[in-house]
Point group: C2
Chain length 226, copies 2
């Protein structure tokens, strides 16, 4: 599959460790979102990833796996989002976990299926922030990470992750100004259509996840951002 | 400048901390090599980098800086080689030194001038190996790094660095087979035309450095590898 990222505006991220009814999953998959991502931080296992993937596969929607744990990587996804945590203190979140994964799964982790994401996690209270041993970057640091993502690593995606809290719009806007080729993904705290439209003014793609599990009806409305 | 890397076969790497006479420098710059790189590990300073750059600039040969120390980065080079040490144990050799450099020098470190190199240092006795806190990778590790350089990071260059010793031809050949788009640079221990021809069979680009300072006449012959 050629991944048509440049046409994307909105993605739903489903957490395999959380419950979503069949009825709600159907609404998500038929919502008009551009793709469904399976990903999370805690309690991600091969079994719950594959179970959720099987349920999403019943619908005609691209499905990607955001890789977080080597043991929870499964074949068959349309694409694989590989986070490189730029503000982690540990090399393993940039390179080493990925190296182990490539040694085992290179037959389906290919140039055509991998989307490497330059991740910047900006919520100190987020599980992912603590797990990846992050440091909170200054505004200048974030802008330089964005610049590096595009100019040094030529990554297809730079991902501002506020993970559960609604982020700093002004910073998202400034980061977008740093980027020409690399797409800006924004995730965190989008619970309403108004918030979705606000962040979509700056980010190329917005990602809605947690709010599917707290206020499903509102979360579903975030797709309508035209 | 559009960097015509795909046409390169041979580079000379000059160490700003070592002495090369004007007569020898002239022979290097007019040798027919594709470009001259300025780079080294110890005692690299802004002053000795700029001094050597000024001397090379008298000749009609592209000149690049291989960035090793943030304080020794100078403007004006045709290109900047940015090593990302894949087998280092420390994130700083992959990301953090680069982040500091980008914050300070982004006005000339741009998409057009940066060549990011996925470095793999394979000589445990090399100064660069020790300085960058490397671990010796297995053959499988090296092949997976090469694969990551191309498929995950889409780096323009994967660099096998034996730094002063002549490397394992069979491994160089296998690494080349992993790569389609990413160019394979080989450096280390090339002292003769015969060795240059041998390694050039597998590597896209060979780099000759140390031997210019030990047996200049032989080293100069390494350019003739057609």
């Amino acid at each position: 599959m050629h991944i048509p990222m440049n046409t994307w505006k909105h993605l739903f991220k489903l957490d395999p460790a959380k419950n979503l009814s069949d009825a709600h999953l159907k609404l998500v998959c038929e919502s008009g979102t551009d793709a469904v991502i399976i990903g999370g931080t805690d309690n991600i296992t091969f079994d719950n990833v594959v179970d959720l993937f099987a349920r999403v596969s019943e619908y005609d929607i691209p499905c990607g796996l955001e890789v977080s744990a080597k043991d929870a990587i499964a074949p068959g996804f349309d694409f694989y989002l590989i986070p490189v945590v730029m503000n982690s203190n540990e090399k393993k979140w940039m390179m080493d976990i990925h190296h182990e994964a490539i040694k085992e799964y290179r037959h389906f982790l290919t140039y055509e299926t991998i989307i490497t994401e330059g991740y910047c996690i900006l919520n100190e209270d987020a599980k992912a922030y603590k797990k990846a041993a992050c440091t909170l970057p200054t505004k200048e640091d974030v802008l330089a990470y964005a610049y590096m993502a595009e100019h040094m690593f030529r990554l297809p995606v730079f991902y501002l992750e506020y993970s559960g809290v609604y982020g700093d719009q002004a910073l998202v806007e400034q980061v977008k100004q740093e980027l020409d080729e690399t797409l800006l993904f924004y995730g965190g705290g989008i619970e309403t259509k108004a918030q979705a439209m606000e962040m979509k003014q700056h980010a190329d793609v917005i990602i809605v996840g947690n709010s599917l599990y707290t206020n499903f009806e509102e979360a579903l409305q975030t797709v309508d951002i035209e």
